[in-house]
Symmetry: C2
Subunit: 319 residues, 2 copies
């Protein structure tokens, strides 16, 4: 009975910070922990940080180590979930074929699960977020770049080589069609990603057309659009139009009734409203719901908690 009541830790490995949370087997968060990953590229260092965080969290809550049942982590890259290997991180960390699950299990002595961070966020939306109980949906994370976590039959759909949902590369009307090199922004994210929106603003900016400065971040552009700036509105409209084309395509292919927008750019109310309006005018047969994540930046770490709970319930440590 005590064993059933154990604890798990969920980890969100980002390019700038590592966030951990301790939870009970109901997913209730008992403690949080954070560290900077700025400049850290070595996976062994990340593993040591996670170990440190796990120890701190258990101590803070006076929980004996023996009650830790599993740990799960969201990694910022394509991840082979079966093998627990991070195949490639897209930026900053530069990981290639890192056996992250094995490294963590060796240090922590409990079962570990690893998945891509967007997929982990999609798990959170599916278990405790706005997509709770929805069989098929797509979680779209719009931050600096764009990625999607595809949930089919209640499970993450990973694809043959673990890279399903890399929608930053989608080609829709208005995106550039020139092939891009690995590491460069994809066609869709060059318009609708955080960096793409910054670049759009820079390219249309003229001193006599707006009172706002040439260097803005995406959410500022959207704020100014809402406040009535016509130039910012133009960038918002192009972004929403392009995102709507991409979501429409996903809805066509997957026959998917729900999209959840996450990430700092994706959760902005201006982008959400404009994209929803465009989709509603498009095609009567294809009318997916478009919701904003209510979990926000907690989605990843919450998803990792739920992945850890499911891991504890289904798997014993192979070592």
């Amino acid at each position: 009975m005590l064993q059933q009541q154990g604890y798990v830790v969920g980890a969100d490995i980002g390019g700038t910070s590592l966030r951990l949370a301790l939870a009970n087997m109901d997913g209730q968060v008992l403690g949080k922990w954070k560290a900077s990953t700025e400049g850290i590229r070595d996976p062994h260092v990340v593993v040591r940080l996670i170990q440190e965080g796990v120890d701190d969290l258990l101590q803070q809550s006076s929980i004996p180590r023996s009650l830790l049942r599993a740990v799960a982590a969201g990694a910022p890259g394509v991840t082979n979930v079966d093998e627990g290997v991070v195949i490639a991180t897209s930026y900053l960390m530069g990981w290639r074929d890192v056996p992250f699950r094995a490294l963590l299990e060796a240090k922590l002595g409990v079962p570990v699960a690893v998945d891509n961070d967007v997929n982990v966020a999609a798990i959170a939306e599916s278990r405790i977020g706005v997509a709770r109980g929805v069989r098929d949906f797509v979680f779209v994370a719009l931050g600096t770049g764009i990625g999607a976590g595809i949930v089919l039959n209640g499970q993450i759909f990973h694809g043959m080589s673990w890279s399903a949902g890399e929608i930053g590369y989608l080609l829709v009307p208005g995106t550039p069609v020139t092939p891009v090199e690995t590491g460069e922004p994809g066609a869709l994210e060059s318009i609708v990603g955080g960096e793409g929106i910054k670049a759009q603003w820079r390219s249309v900016w003229r001193k006599d057309l707006t009172q706002h400065p040439r260097e803005l971040v995406a959410t500022q552009v959207f704020d100014y659009a809402l406040a009535g700036d016509a130039l910012a509105r133009q960038v918002l409209d192009k972004s929403a139009q392009t995102l709507a084309y991409a979501l429409y395509n996903l809805a066509i292919v997957l026959n998917c009734p729900l999209f959840v927008l996450g990430g700092t750019v994706g959760m902005h109310p201006a982008l959400w409203t404009a994209t929803r309006d465009i989709l509603s005018r498009r095609d009567k047969r294809v009318q997916p719901d478009l919701l904003r994540s209510t979990l926000g930046s907690d989605a990843q770490v919450n998803g990792a908690i739920h992945l850890a709970i499911e891991t504890a319930n289904s798997r014993v440590l192979m070592s």
Copy 2:
């Protein structure tokens, strides 16, 4: 043992013809049967035709009725496989919510399965065609219109409301973006479908630019492109480019390693070669194989045979 050796019938319901084939439980075809469906809209008439065809086929092969174990049919529209209901046919027949499985089972007295005809063709490619043994692939049928059968984990992926893979509506660079009404050609098929290619040819045609007539079908345009006609080449290149964008998008979303082209337009060697070349130049990370169906127009009826075999092996008649 005799029961294990029974027989099945596969049916392909088209807008112009109904094709049936009788097979043993290994999928070996023992007889074929065909009737015109020109002008026939009433599903009860189609059911009676199928019954007639089944009787003819059994008699021709001197097989007693008691050895018929199942029948499966591919219908030209969105089909609820669980309920056996054809929700909507896209053209010609105008069916809406037709309980086709129940109608057929009542007439035939054996278990019946119904699915969309493109999905049924994808089953054939998966079981006996060029995609045999491939876990995830997409069968793309290019005829008058465009549809896709998506196979994930060896099974047809149908989507929440049975319309996954309706890729004729995809929006890619170069397709029109105006919303279309139900029944009108979708954005992608208005360029790459048989009718779209005819229309492309008509719109670029000028007497002084080509020796060929203004009214051609898609495969003729492609034939003339192969024979060196520059104007036909231009239409081929635009078609291949647009198709390549669509397949690239599907590969990105589904992380799918194989596409099989079927249908009279899709199987044309000129379109296949040109599309493959464009895809190979696009993105080193995304390089799906592109194969042509070897089953051709037999794919649907063969897929129906295999669906019937699987139905016989897994289901008893509910009546």
